[in-house]
């Protein structure tokens, strides 16, 4: 379990030590680290299903909670670990080729693995303060990675992101302080028990609001979404992929799900707020994406919209909705990383991000072109890609729960998504090719490999709907959400 933390931390440290050696050594080490992380995450998922205990607990330094801290992996954590580490693997492969554009690659790799260790830490933390510490590690690395190109716009974007993110973290820390004064324990299971004893104390409501403000900003839910467009359009492509595909999901959505469903107990008020935020994000993200000429900004607003879907599904809070939320999370991570990595390739080929100036991607770089088409189709909800199924499930869940208006909004936004994706990307992909096309660089081989692998995953995602696969992969996550209040009991039971 602690391998999830030790491997990336060790890799980050080694990158710094091996700063002077050639790129090859460091690339190989980073590739090995990423592969091992991905393999471990899959093994953990299989172990979690195998034991049927739904929770794996492993203590650190021999002290058990509540005095010590432990790592806890339940169905939701295991599933997200697989998502995160798989996406990270492909992004690492991609950045081996892409980051030759920048100097001082070792700093990038070091910060990148620190970010991964922070994200993994958030996923396995069973203790409120641990969660906060790893959140900060991931966030600090992300702030620096966004500014990695050190040009004027990148620094500005990073600074605004950093200030907003730090204020959000401050709210979260304040919430932790209030919560501690009320429950006098920091382990998530202990807090869950203390809150179950007194659920409607005013302090719990106040802490919920603080947490919601903080984590909603990390998740880029409207109205806290402003930093996303800045950060994504200026960051290097692999970082945009990680930010949009992984960081938002774990630091924002997973944290909200874990805290509000497993610890606080899903109250009706929270669910309604989640629904409201989700709907706002879906609509605002869709509207803002129209007429964007910068390809990465388009993707960024699309991310805001899709995260709105997940928040909406979490708010509806039926088992089918949870399934849709988790599945959509997985699909979106894969597909959005794919799209962002491709945008990096496109930017490298054409030296611009302006969609009106790009044309002929399919002609010039078939891998990039076709995988972008596949990615756009998956996000817009075109069968047989995974995105279609996950959106369908969310819409059905809304209908089933008796919210026809929400289902209608979801359908509408899905149509909007399709519209702006195809309106923006068709001329870019299919045009005749610009004259200076012969002078553009070709896409590096390994970048193609990782992008193709992601596209294959996007295609294969609907396989997860088959009952056998579903039981192995996603059901654990759904159970963890549905039985939120059982989290405390299972963790404490596993400790004894």
């Amino acid at each position: 379990m602690h391998l999830f933390l030790i491997i990336p931390l060790a890799a980050a440290f080694m990158m710094a030590i091996l700063a002077r050696t050639g790129d090859c050594v460091r690339d190989i080490i980073s590739g090995l680290a990423a592969i091992s992380l991905a393999v471990f995450s899959v093994l953990t998922l299989m172990a979690a299903n195998f034991f049927h205990s739904a929770v794996i607990v492993k203590s650190f330094a021999g002290f058990m909670p509540p005095a010590g801290t432990a790592f806890v992996v339940d169905g939701l954590s295991a599933f997200m670990l697989v998502t995160v580490n798989t996406v990270a693997l492909f992004v690492v492969l991609y950045s081996a080729g892409y980051m030759n554009k920048y100097t001082d690659k070792w700093k990038f790799q070091s910060l990148f693995f620190l970010m991964i260790s922070g994200i993994n830490g958030v996923l396995v933390a069973s203790d409120m303060f641990n969660l906060y510490v790893f959140l900060e590690i991931a966030a600090i690395s992300a702030y620096f990675l966004v500014a990695f190109g050190t040009e004027a716009e990148e620094l500005e974007a990073s600074f605004k992101y950093a200030v907003m993110g730090t204020v959000a973290s401050a709210f979260i820390l304040l919430g932790i302080a209030f919560l501690y004064s009320h429950t006098s324990t920091l382990s998530l299971a202990g807090i869950a028990q203390a809150i179950a004893a007194a659920p409607s104390a005013r302090i719990v409501q106040f802490v919920s609001v603080l947490f919601l403000m903080g984590f909603a900003l990390k998740a880029a839910l409207v109205p806290f979404h402003a930093w996303l467009a800045y950060a994504h359009s200026s960051a290097p492509a692999p970082i945009s992929a990680m930010l949009s595909g992984v960081l938002i999901k774990v630091l924002g959505i997973y944290a909200i799900a874990r805290i509000f469903f497993s610890v606080f107990g899903a109250s009706a008020g929270i669910c309604q707020i989640l629904i409201a935020l989700g709907v706002l994000s879906m609509i605002a993200g869709g509207v803002l994406a129209f007429g964007q000429s910068d390809i990465k900004r388009l993707f960024a607003y699309s991310t805001v919209s899709q995260i709105g879907y997940v928040a909406l599904a979490l708010g509806v809070a039926t088992p089918l909705a949870f399934f849709g939320a988790v599945f959509h999370l997985f699909n979106h991570s894969i597909v959005k990383s794919l799209l962002f990595l491709n945008s990096g390739s496109i930017e490298q080929m054409f030296r611009t991000r302006d969609l009106s100036k790009i044309s002929g991607v399919v002609a010039g770089a078939p891998v990039t072109g076709y995988t972008s088409i596949m990615g756009a189709m998956s996000i817009s909800g075109v069968p047989p890609f995974g995105g279609f199924w996950s959106k369908l499930i969310i819409i059905f869940a809304c209908l089933q729960a008796g919210h026809p208006v929400l289902a209608a909004i979801a359908v509408l936004v899905s149509v909007m998504t399709m519209a702006y994706y195809f309106a923006a990307m068709t001329p870019a992909l299919f045009g005749a090719g610009i004259n200076s096309f012969n002078a553009v660089k070709k896409v590096h081989g390994i970048m193609n490999v990782s992008v193709m692998a992601l596209a294959v995953l996007a295609l294969a995602a609907p396989l997860a709907l088959l009952p056998e696969m579903r039981q192995r992969l996603i059901d654990g996550a759904v159970q963890a959400l549905v039985n939120g209040s059982a989290y405390a009991a299972t963790v404490l039971g596993a400790i004894k």
């Binding site: 002290f63 005095a67 100097t103 303060f129």
Partner: protein
């Protein structure tokens, strides 16, 4: 406890000075005053480790901040929606404080913490870890992951500052 309230008032006054004053250097020094007040509060609240730590970090932050402060603050210009923005911010803060005040009623009285988990720390720390200082036992044994995390965060900050401060970011010069 009257001393802590007085210290808090002093800190608030220094903070307001830091926020409002035009000269950036004076502003940074006022923040230094807030930090010293904080350190003294830690002493009064019987947290000597923290007081030392706060002083050290305070000095470091002041050095870093003074390195960056070379100009005056900008001239005040009430442009556009200044009144509306300020008013809405103060309104938000007032609402925040009111709600916080209500939730204080659920909190324990000042000076009587619940200390469920901490009983175990206080009772067993000496026996299990052999450390006299309970804080050291907690940060180095019971919750060593937090310490690992904070070291990793510092490492990330150092590497990041090195990454940002480099002169040549792309081989062959800046793109645009």
């Amino acid at each position: 406890m009257l001393e802590i309230d007085l210290l808090l008032l002093f800190m608030i006054a220094s903070a307001i000075i830091a926020v409002q004053v035009k000269d950036l250097l004076s502003s940074v020094i006022a923040v230094g005053a807030v930090g010293i007040g904080l350190s003294m509060s830690f002493l009064i609240m019987k947290a000597p480790d923290l007081a030392i730590m706060q002083l050290v970090v305070e000095v470091l932050s002041l050095i870093i901040l003074i390195r960056a402060t070379i100009r005056k603050d900008l001239p005040f210009s009430a442009s556009g929606r200044w009144a509306f923005n300020t008013f809405s911010m103060i309104l938000f803060l007032a609402v925040f404080l009111v709600f916080a005040y209500f939730s204080f009623s659920d909190m324990h009285r000042f000076g009587a913490p619940l200390m469920k988990v901490s009983q175990e720390y206080l009772g067993e720390a000496m026996a299990k870890t052999g450390a006299h200082n309970v804080i050291a036992a907690i940060t180095l044994k019971y919750r060593s992951i937090d310490t690992l995390g904070e070291v990793a965060a510092l490492f990330a900050a150092v590497v990041g500052v090195l990454a940002i401060a480099r002169k040549v970011s792309r081989p062959g010069g800046i793109r645009k």
